[in-house]
């Protein structure tokens, strides 16, 4: 019998539909795989075996009754711990939410449940999604399945590692500055940050409200399209949710896989290559570009002069919003509550003690930065200026998209670095997101597709960006590239990853 964990979500969906295997079998196979390898990978913070198996059994019963089911019904999924799940821990990787069981589901989780996807559990992440390595998780870091000594990326390293280690065919990530795409790049998986407003943020524990976006983490472009169509679309509970329907994504992926990109203009962003980029990463990037040209695309060079300031603007806007979003964690209503060791037990002192004990260093660093940036007298110089830069970056994108249908770059400047390597150097860590951040500042969608192995034998990612609400272009180009690369490799890149367990 085939190993159900090695199938893509789309393949598994067909296997379930044909009756070759049941959802209970598929779910159990993944739970077994988690049991076998997660001790090494540590992708999960919480495994919800009973809940997942109950959903699977229900889907099997409904299928047996002849009910028409969603294509992904019965296909298990892992959910990043920053997404609120009813009755299931949701810590966002923080001690301050240890033991909190949410009384409600995020909108996207409601949609997963309604479609019958068994939720395997919650995946590890940098605390409150602040980081690029999962090393800032309060519950220990995850490991890169390609090399357990290395980071799986972050903040959504758990979701990417789970999918790369065949612990789950699908996962949900969130991307505030690259937290879906960068882990995708360094683990050889596919990750999509949809257009801002494309997937409801209701039930996402907010990091930076104007930047956060949930999206799919998968092993194939088509799987991402399937998942994206399921979780995306308007939600009246999120005011920033886009009212119009999504463009057809699955169709775009299937069409792209046919390999014809004639008439497509691909813009290479001058500012997102060169210095700071690992040679092997750049080599894979240029080979991928070649393949796109062969498929009929026209490659043009575009300049986005203000991208230079993106990182600086991002590290003002994000901490500013985060400092306010994280204010609610005060020990008064839910989660951790710490009373001061001595002295009077006032609300203010309980709040201070709780926040002191519950937040990690990186979270405190950003809260302090953000509080400062919003302070009276500094607002214009910091937050105000950052918003102006943001407008300039949006204009850069508008100009670039006038010349090209999609923009491309390496997803991350390097492959996975060693655990601990950048932990004491926040700036070096922040620089890892230099290519992914502009998309969040402008609200445009992006995908990272594996582009091959760099000179160090580790995966690199190819990033494709499209104009807002044109997420279908990501899938068309991504699927074409994926097909072309896999034919040169003779199969999926992840077939070359070490077999764990």
């Amino acid at each position: 019998m085939t190993d159900l964990t090695r199938l893509s979500a789309c393949q598994l969906s067909e296997t379930l539909a044909s009756g070759e295997a049941s959802s209970v079998e598929a779910t159990r196979a993944h739970l077994d795989r988690i049991a076998a390898v997660d001790g090494d990978v540590h992708a999960f913070l919480h495994v919800s075996a009973d809940d997942a198996l109950a959903t699977a059994a229900d889907v099997d019963a409904r299928r047996a009754n002849g009910e028409v089911l969603h294509p992904l019904a019965g296909v298990p999924i892992a959910v990043k711990d920053v997404v609120v799940t009813k009755g299931m821990p949701s810590t966002a990787g923080s001690k301050i939410l240890e033991g909190w069981i949410p009384p409600y589901d995020a909108t996207l989780v409601e949609r997963l449940r309604a479609a019958g996807l068994p939720i395997l559990g919650k995946t590890n992440m940098d605390e409150f999604a602040m980081g690029s390595s999962t090393e800032h998780s309060a519950y220990g870091n995850s490991h890169n399945p390609w090399d357990l000594e290395r980071i799986p990326g972050g903040s959504g390293g758990g979701s990417a590692a789970a999918v790369a280690a065949f612990e789950a065919p699908l996962a949900i990530g969130t991307d505030t500055g690259g937290s879906i795409r960068q882990p995708g790049a360094v683990t050889g998986t596919v990750g999509v940050k949809p257009t801002y407003g494309g997937v409801s943020r209701y039930g996402l524990i907010a990091l930076a409200s104007s930047l956060d976006q949930a999206g799919p983490v998968t092993r194939t472009v088509l799987d991402s399209a399937l998942l994206h169509e399921l979780i995306g679309g308007h939600d009246p509970r999120d005011s920033t949710s886009i009212p119009e329907p999504l463009p057809p994504l699955v169709e775009a992926a299937r069409q792209g896989a046919l390999g014809d990109l004639s008439g497509l203009r691909v813009g290479v962003v001058t500012q997102l290559q060169g210095e700071g980029y690992q040679p092997g990463v750049l080599a894979r990037f240029h080979e991928s570009l070649e393949l796109l040209t062969k498929a009929g695309a026209e490659v043009v060079e575009v300049s986005c002069p203000h991208f230079e300031y993106a990182l600086a603007a991002y590290y003002l806007i994000l901490p500013a919003e985060a400092s306010s979003n994280l204010a609610k964690f005060d020990g008064m209503r839910f989660g951790l509550r710490v009373e001061p060791e001595d002295g009077p037990v006032t609300a203010e002192r309980v709040m201070a003690a709780t926040r002191g004990a519950g937040f990690g260093d990186e979270v405190k660093r950003r809260i302090i930065l953000g509080t400062y940036a919003l302070s009276a007298g500094y607002y214009d110089a910091y937050y105000g200026s950052a918003q102006k830069v943001r407008t300039l970056i949006q204009r850069d994108f508008a100009d670039a998209f006038a010349q090209a249908d999609v923009l491309v770059s390496p997803t991350a400047p390097t492959t996975a670095f060693k655990l601990g390597e950048k932990l004491d150097d926040p700036l070096a860590m922040y620089l890892n997101d230099v290519a992914t951040i502009p998309a969040n500042l402008a609200g445009v969608p992006g995908i990272s597709v594996p582009s091959g192995l760099s000179d160090d034998g580790l995966p690199a990612g190819f990033q494709i960006l499209a104009p807002a609400k044109a997420d279908d272009r990501l899938y068309r180009v991504g699927a074409a590239l994926e097909a072309a690369l896999e034919s040169t490799w003779g199969g999926p890149l992840l077939d070359r990853a070490p077999t764990l367990g």
């Binding site: 997404v83 966002a92 949410p102 995020a106 907010a206 409200s209 104007s210 920033t240 609610k328 009276a376």
Partner: protein
């Protein structure tokens, strides 16, 4: 706790030496069915923490969505206060840590209020009109409510623990901020009170709030500063928080005038601070000084898109605004033809609605005024109640007056009918029947009574026959007494004279 109470300058002396400038911030809780940013219902008096959602509890992941009805109400208020309505405006976060603020920030509006640049003419009791300029009216959410348990008088100091009820958290508020109100002089306290009262009346007429002061639906913060002359620049102000009755607004202004005058007289400077108002003695005292109080780190709320009311919608709302209290008073004044002083008395007694309804029930304005401002006002005063709280309706007064007009009862009997209605014996008609109060119009029993009276007072009969009609009143009085007042005195007189002439 030691506070040095400054000597107070007598109010009259204070306003002779200084020019008071007031500024008032009024918060009104909107009477929408649901909260400002979530579908939790809101109603007064529900069990604590039963009217909440993840949004109003500030749970991780929850997001706000603007209540469209609250926006409409805010626009109504803005239009009634002659404001401009913003074409687009944003919400902002006001960041501060306090347990009754679930997110530790209040979603409010900062530099982009929904309504701005308005005015309201307020009328004092003697009819003087003072124009108050409105700087802005903005939307925001209310906080929860803390209850401090243990310690003294529900204060936080010395309390053993505190409970928080989040039912009120997220209730929609509109905050209305005036520009500095100048030129009121010694009448500043009255102007302040009349302004808050005028707003309360407007909220009710607009049907945007029950506007019940005692429930905290309307809350005022009163700013006050003094300056040497009306030409001098504005002085340092204090802000007295949560002054929650009309009378308190007036008292708070008076107290601060007296207090600040004493400080200035002593050559010292007024400290800019927030102050608490004390209902017991009408005084104010300094509020808690918060170390981070002045920096709320406002920034645009990223979870909400701007509110952009279309001009067509604004005009639609404008077109459906009800008649506002002042315009209505002017119209009724004209329609009823009361003298200015009479009209003012009616307004001040809270009898306007009652008289209008009584007129609608068929009475003339003069008759309606006579009842409400006369007999009923007397009874309300006796019972220390508001006119509107008496157990009688305008419709019943209308009916009562109709009985008088039809000659079925007279004014004196009508007072007995009132007794019956107020005692819960039913409508006037029922009381007349059950108490047997109808005027005796059948001459038969009347003649019997007259004959008895004539027989009892032959000397009077003699005098009248002699051409002196003066003493006839004695006979009439005896007849009225015998019929317990139910006879028509005019008819009795006719019959008596006929009989004597007879």
């Amino acid at each position: 706790m030691t506070t040095t109470t400054p000597a107070l300058v007598a109010y009259g002396d204070a306003v002779r030496r200084y020019d008071p400038v007031i500024g008032i911030e009024v918060h009104v809780e909107l009477g929408t069915r649901t909260k400002m940013f979530c579908p939790a219902e809101q109603s007064f008096g529900a069990e604590p923490n039963t009217q909440t959602t993840p949004v109003s509890l500030g749970l991780p992941g929850a997001l706000p969505v603007v209540n469209g009805t609250a926006v409409e109400y805010a626009i109504r208020i803005g239009l009634a206060l002659n404001c401009q309505i913003a074409e687009s405006c944003r919400f902002a976060r006001k960041n501060y840590f306090y347990p009754d603020v679930p997110k530790n920030f209040q979603t409010s509006q900062y530099d982009e209020p929904i309504a701005f640049d308005g005015w309201l003419d307020v009328e004092l009791e003697d009819g003087t009109v003072h124009r108050v300029e409105i700087e802005r009216a903005h939307m925001e959410e209310d906080a929860g409510k803390n209850t401090h348990v243990g310690g003294s008088a529900g204060r936080i100091h010395g309390a053993e623990y505190s409970l928080v009820d989040y039912n009120r958290a997220g209730v929609p508020l509109v905050e209305i901020v005036t520009r500095p109100i100048t030129g009121a002089g010694e009448r500043a306290p009255e102007v302040a009170r009349a302004y808050v009262q005028a707003l309360r009346d407007i909220f009710r007429v607009l049907d945007v709030s029950e506007a019940r002061m005692e429930r905290g639906n309307v809350r005022a913060d009163v700013n006050l500063s003094l300056r040497a002359t009306p030409e001098a620049p504005l002085g340092t102000r204090t802000e007295t928080k949560n002054v929650n009755s009309f009378r308190s607004v007036e008292r708070a202004v008076r107290y601060e005038v007296s207090r600040q005058a004493a400080i200035l007289d002593a050559g010292r400077s007024v400290v800019q601070e927030t102050r608490h108002f004390h209902e017991e003695d009408g005084s104010t005292s300094p509020g808690r000084v918060k170390s981070d109080a002045e920096d709320y780190r406002y920034f645009p709320e990223p979870d909400l898109v701007p509110v952009a009311p279309s001009r067509a919608w604004v005009e639609e709302i404008r077109a459906t605004l009800p008649e506002l209290p002042q315009a209505r008073r002017r119209r009724l004044h004209d329609e009823w033809g009361f003298a200015d002083a009479e009209m003012r008395d009616v307004v001040n007694a809270g009898a306007l609605d009652l008289i209008e309804a009584t007129v609608a029930a068929g009475a003339t304005a003069a008759a309606a005024r006579k009842w409400w401002m006369g007999e009923l006002a007397r009874r309300a005063k006796q019972e220390e109640a508001e006119l509107a709280d008496l157990a009688i309706t305008p419709a019943q007064i209308g009916e009562l007056q109709q009985l008088v007009d039809a000659g079925r009862i007279n004014d004196k009997i009508a007072r007995q009918v009132l007794d019956g209605v107020l005692a819960g014996e039913g409508d006037p008609e029922q009381v007349v029947v059950s108490r047997g109060l109808e005027i005796v119009s059948d001459d038969g029993p009347l003649l019997v009574a007259i004959d008895e009276a004539l027989a009892a007072q032959p000397d009077v009969v003699e005098k009248v026959r002699g051409g002196n009609q003066g003493p006839v009143g004695a006979i009439i009085g005896a007849v009225m007494k015998a019929t317990r007042g139910q006879a028509d005195a005019k008819r009795v007189r006719e019959l008596v004279l006929e009989r004597i002439a007879g």
